[in-house]
């Protein structure tokens, strides 16, 4: 087990290094930020001075090397626009994004799995078919459009929920969270629901497919032949089998939820890292873009790694190192 974990760790670090290089290269090819930050009237001397000050005159590899050295110390450059350390900017906004992503995932799980179970157990009933039709709608609807419609209905027409921004926050372990206040919840409701929609539909379909397959298996027949009540057959035998791929998917999709928050944050003006990214791209604030990508890549790699290791815990057949069975 441990050997496997170490190997994965090594792979992850390699990927991290590779990504950082690619990101660095790519972002620095965008354009010349000097044009943005320096007065267009400035003469060449001014530009020269600004270039040197921002370190943009050195060859790319040198810039990368300097960058790596600084990165190791936690310094990922200063934002061209805000003039504070990029990493600080990202970390300030990260809790908002993570909160949104987390709440959205919870919503998707709490609604998606039960619905999928029902759809899988009664696939030909009205309810089952309705759920499936709903799920098709759910992942076909473009997220940003749904957000728009939500705002139209709940903010403009009904006036129940605020259309943008984050609500009042409370500090938990030093991290500001907004789901513990009523105001916070009101602001969270639409964005979280919006973000959850895609994953919810996916989960419904996944759970349904898993259930349909599981029901046909021999161990379900055997469980019934033992005279077990249906709720145990479904709740223990079937559920435990389908949970393994589902948990894996949820874990892996968590990263994608965080990324997709970019869109939701743009619509609802949620003060997270996604909105920051879009603005930075438009303003060519390279250090922030780089810092964002590195943080996201790190988060992803960590998530993938954890899910991998977790999977081997959940599925007893995959546990490496325990006494292997016969055929």
């Amino acid at each position: 087990m441990l050997a496997y974990a170490f190997r994965r760790l090594g792979q992850s670090l390699f990927v991290l290094a590779l990504m950082s290089f690619l990101v660095f290269l790519g972002v620095y090819a965008i354009g010349n930020p000097i044009e943005l930050l320096v007065n267009p009237e400035a003469d060449d001397v001014e530009r020269m001075r600004a270039t040197v000050a921002l370190g943009l005159d050195k060859p790319i590899l040198t810039q990368y090397a300097t960058f790596l050295v600084h990165a190791a110390k936690g310094d990922l450059g200063r934002s061209f626009v805000y003039n504070i350390p990029a990493i600080q900017l990202i970390l300030e906004r990260l809790p908002a994004t993570l909160e949104l992503a987390f709440v959205a995932t919870v919503i998707a799980i709490l609604i998606g799995i039960p619905l999928g179970l029902v759809a899988g157990l009664k696939p030909d009933s009205w309810l089952g078919r309705g759920i499936m039709a709903g799920s098709i709608l759910g992942f076909s609807l473009p997220t940003f459009w749904v957000g728009l419609v939500l705002i139209m209905v709940f903010s403009v027409e009904l006036g129940w929920l605020p259309p943008n921004g984050r609500g009042a926050t409370v500090s938990v372990l030093g991290v500001p969270v907004s789901f513990l206040t009523l105001d916070g919840l009101k602001h969270l409701a639409m964005p979280a629901l919006n973000l959850a929609l895609l994953k919810l539909s996916l989960l419904v379909r996944l759970t349904r497919a898993g259930t349909r397959e599981a029901i046909l298996q021999d161990y379900v027949k055997f469980a019934r032949a033992k005279g077990l009540p249906m709720r145990r057959v479904i709740g223990v035998h079937v559920l435990k089998n389908i949970m393994i791929p589902i948990v894996t998917v949820i874990g892996l999709e968590l990263g994608s939820v965080i990324a997709f928050a970019i869109v939701t944050e743009s619509i609802f003006a949620w003060p997270g890292t996604g909105k920051l990214l879009i603005d930075s791209i438009n303003q060519l604030d390279r250090p922030v873009i780089v810092a964002y990508l590195l943080v996201i890549v790190t988060i992803f790699i960590v998530i993938n790694f954890v899910v991998d290791v977790l999977y081997s815990f959940l599925d007893p057949r995959v546990r490496i190192g325990t006494a292997a069975g016969a055929h």
């Binding site: 055997f222 033992k226 077990l228 035998h237 393994i244 006494a323 069975g325 055929h327």
Partner: protein, 320 residues
């Protein structure tokens, strides 16, 4: 009657959009205390479906349409599902063919055994575990403690099937239905399991229905035999009687195709043709297309006859 299980005129049909499939069409059999009944037939003959019907595991689009199943004198057909469930795994149990998939791969052995006990008896987990150890000992699994805490994939096929047998016997049912339990195992293991099941049943007085396509298995194991074809029992009786004096051409065909009964060097004899589609049965004898003794009056199908007190036969032109 000392019969633990009595099935009469059982009909289980599938209602699909391609037509009605008569999987079990007027089947009658009985099992006595401590005796073994062999139910023999090809794939598609309806023998498994008979087993499922007895257990009440018939799901839509199939349905028991007629007949009676009496377990220890209690009528099962028409019983409400919850009542049937209480008997399932308790007074009548089933063992399936593929031990690899019968046990749930993500649950421990003890979980799967204990739940079989506690579904029918309100006992503590400890008491249930005690029963489990007992049951494992019956089927010859040593050091039950470690086995209980293991997962199915830690066991070989033969072991898994023994566990399945232990689970089937754990509540000391009156009747056990074994659906080709040794087909997927090595031949050597097969022999062991056959022997042990026979012993267990004799010792505990449990009735055993052994479903198989292999007549040679039945020869060594069963007391009585029912031969099934296209959803009907075509012949039944004590095993020695049937093997020595088969009356139905199909039974004869089955016997003749056993390799050890053929002369070395000569081509193996076969039953010509294919088994019929159960959706396209007509009113005649289902075997007549393949039978060399077929005649015009094999249509309509002959009724069940009793050529001797212990034998039944469905044939218009039996072997002499």
């Amino acid at each position: 009657m000392s019969a633990l299980l009595e099935v009469e005129g059982l009909k289980t049909h599938f209602f699909t959009k391609d037509g009605t499939v008569k999987a079990v069409d007027d089947v009658s059999l009985s099992v006595e205390r401590g005796k073994v009944l062999g139910l023999v037939g090809e794939s598609g003959s309806g023998k498994s479906m008979t087993g499922y019907s007895i257990l009440g595991l018939v799901d839509p689009p199939a349905r028991i349409v007629a007949g009676s199943i009496r377990l220890e004198g209690r009528e099962l057909v028409g019983l409400e599902p919850e009542a049937w469930r209480r008997l399932r795994g308790n007074r009548v149990s089933m063992i399936f063919q593929d031990p690899m998939m019968t046990l749930n791969p993500v649950l421990r052995i003890d979980t799967q055994m204990v739940e079989a006990v506690r579904a029918h008896h309100a006992v503590s987990r400890e008491a249930a575990l005690e029963r489990c150890r007992e049951a494992l000992a019956w089927v010859g699994i040593p050091s039950p403690e470690e086995r209980l805490r293991a997962y199915p994939h830690h066991f070989s096929g033969g072991m898994r099937q023994r566990v399945a047998i232990a689970i089937a016997l754990i509540n000391r049912p009156a009747v056990v239905i074994a659906d080709e339990p040794t087909t997927a195992l090595d031949v050597t293991i097969q022999g062991q399991i056959l022997f042990e099941m026979q012993r267990l049943c004799r010792e505990s007085g449990t009735g055993l229905v052994w479903i198989t396509h292999d007549l040679s298995v039945v020869a060594g194991l069963a007391d009585d035999v029912c031969v099934m074809y296209a959803g009907r029992i075509v012949e039944s009786g004590p095993v020695d009687d049937i093997l020595d004096h088969p009356m139905h051409p199909y039974t004869r065909g089955l016997l003749d195709s056993i390799p050890s009964r053929n002369t070395p060097g000569k081509p193996l004899s076969q039953i010509p043709g294919m088994s019929p589609s159960l959706a396209r049965l007509d009113a005649g004898c289902a075997f007549r297309e393949r039978c060399e003794r077929a005649h015009a009056d094999c249509h309509p199908a002959p009724a069940v006859a009793r050529p001797s007190p212990l034998r039944t036969l469905r044939c218009a032109h039996p072997l002499p």
